[in-house]
Symmetry: C2
Subunit: 339 residues, 2 copies
């Protein structure tokens, strides 16, 4: 039992009449807020915006920063799309949506800093409606190259703070889900030190375990996690808003602390090599990427998450007792950062 | 009707008793031949071999050249593996294999030359047995950055020569299959100028159309292609051997002709950018990669195909009337090179 009362069965599960406008509006707004925060943090780079339309319905605003002082590349996307049918990968998870038109909106972001001492970070929040069903999904996760324990703890503590306002079990459940989702099976490594992730949050269905990824990726999600049903649309939307707003306070302090740490070729080479894992994850496992490609999404916006420069090296393993080895040995394994 | 007599129905379809030994032996031998040819062509770089074993059964020899005079990275793999069951992606294409142990052997190669005027090239030949079924698959395809028409034609002509010895329709059919397989749907581009590709060649089944890729990749294969059934195991094995031996004469002359062509940052940047497409294809669509990852293959050997250095750039399009534009406009579309 938690200290949080479980809402009664009487909680209405229907979205309000203006659900799409409200969520779409918020997704635009959080894109703006994040971009402002990143401009401040970088101090030099600016965003170039492309507004685009999708022939099948909808469109978006892609914003990219290149060669900033801090960010070698950063992309912050907003999109709002609709169409006749969801792709098979989603319909198999939400069969009730079959035969219905869909609406989807979301904001997503990936930042690739120049300095290897600053972690790469990813955020994505999204909302779907299709006939009788709707759901929220998304998360934030951190991928350091030369992690500092204190930074990882602060990052997680900030996310936990956002979760705790809404449900005493959210952080634990969604942190575990993040570890399981951002996992490279073929490397037996997490993508980084995690954060939070959730999907198919509709307030009624116990959909935390989504089963083997029908797209052929290997992602399997939490089994046997507590039920978090009986949340209203308003409660979930408020939760997602707090998660989105937690990004700047979770990440910007790390940038401030590490941006002046010196580095040389060794650190840069390692960063470029580790960025390869980011590519592997996004192209092999990530459902957002697969959804985008399957729905004829805008390829340039979907693949904006890929790093500006990447290196692969056959058979690389870090030297024992180095900071590179520490990343593998200590940080790329799921664990309780706030224990 | 072709000039080639269709073998009678009496042709035996059963593999010989020593089929595994013979194909496995040939796969080793072609790895050796290719490596010798590449050592000669490079003149400086050597191969580092890793022999490895797979806990579930079998193993292989991975050979990598790095920082040669010609090849920035080149990998030539041999593998021979067996196990209790084929992965679902293959069983859905070959349901007769269900419940049977399998044997698979193959040689695969990807070369990433340093000089952007030399194309990247890929070869893979493979053989499967599982209970009542067996089949050959594979191909060769070329990915130039600054293509020269004459090189493309010679490459295709050499492959056609190998095909023509065995069936008058092989080149046309397998060339078209290659164009359709090595296609990046999300970019609406072929991976390069193609070559030949085939799969599920068992001599009896009209399996040229394999349907939508069950792995979630978008590959769809030739529909309405001529039936090429009624080939014996020996005929198919002889065909595959000639295809494998066609690689060096198809590719090495291009290396010789282009290795002294000068290049600067512009050409190098374009090469690194275009290498990104290679990564996208291999991780999103390639069935060999997916098979490897699904069968707990050796990750380092499977991903040896990825380039040593890669660049992504948001929203890049080539300037009109440049050689970069020519690649997109003229070469990344299926066409009859020998017409």
């Amino acid at each position: 039992m938690t200290a949080f009362a479980t809402p009664s069965k009487a909680v209405s599960n229907a979205p309000p009449k203006d659900s799409r406008e409200r969520v779409g509006q918020w997704m635009r707004q959080i894109q703006d807020e994040i971009c402002r925060g990143l401009l401040d943090a970088d101090g030099s780079g600016g965003f170039k915006q492309d507004a685009w339309e999708r022939p099948e319905g909808g469109g978006g605003r892609s914003r990219v920063m290149r060669d900033g002082d801090i960010f070698e590349q950063g992309g912050v996307n907003f999109s709002e799309v609709w169409g006749d049918r969801l792709p098979p990968s989603i319909l198999s998870q939400r069969p009730e949506a079959k035969g219905h038109r869909f609406y989807a909106t979301g904001t997503s972001m990936v930042l690739h800093p120049k300095n290897p001492h600053i972690p790469t970070v990813h955020l994505n929040y999204r909302y779907f409606e299709a006939g009788p069903v709707w759901w929220f999904g998304g998360g934030i996760d951190l991928t350091p190259y030369y992690p500092v324990r204190e930074d990882v703890e602060n990052f997680h503590r900030t996310l936990k703070g956002a979760c705790d306002k809404h449900h005493g079990e959210y952080y634990d459940v969604f942190k575990r889900w993040c570890d399981e989702y951002f996992y490279l099976k073929h490397r037996d490594e997490t993508r980084g030190v995690g954060g939070i992730f959730f999907d198919y949050q509709d307030g009624i269905n116990d959909q935390l375990y989504c089963g083997p990824n029908p797209d052929g990726g290997a992602a399997e999600y939490s089994r046997n996690v507590p039920k978090l049903e009986n949340r209203s649309w308003e409660q979930l939307f408020a939760f997602v808003q707090d998660c989105g707003r937690a990004f700047l306070p979770a990440y910007v302090p790390i940038v401030e602390k590490r941006k002046d740490t010196e580095y040389g070729d060794r650190e840069r080479d390692f960063q470029l090599y580790r960025r390869g894992r980011y590519v592997e994850f996004n192209l092999v496992y990530d459902r957002g990427t697969i959804f985008g490609l399957q729905t004829n999404g805008r390829t340039e916006s979907i693949l904006m998450s890929l790093p500006p420069m990447v290196r692969w090296e056959y058979g690389y393993t870090p030297e024992p007792n180095t900071r590179e080895a520490e990343l593998y040995d200590t940080y790329l394994k799921p664990q309780d950062w706030l224990g």
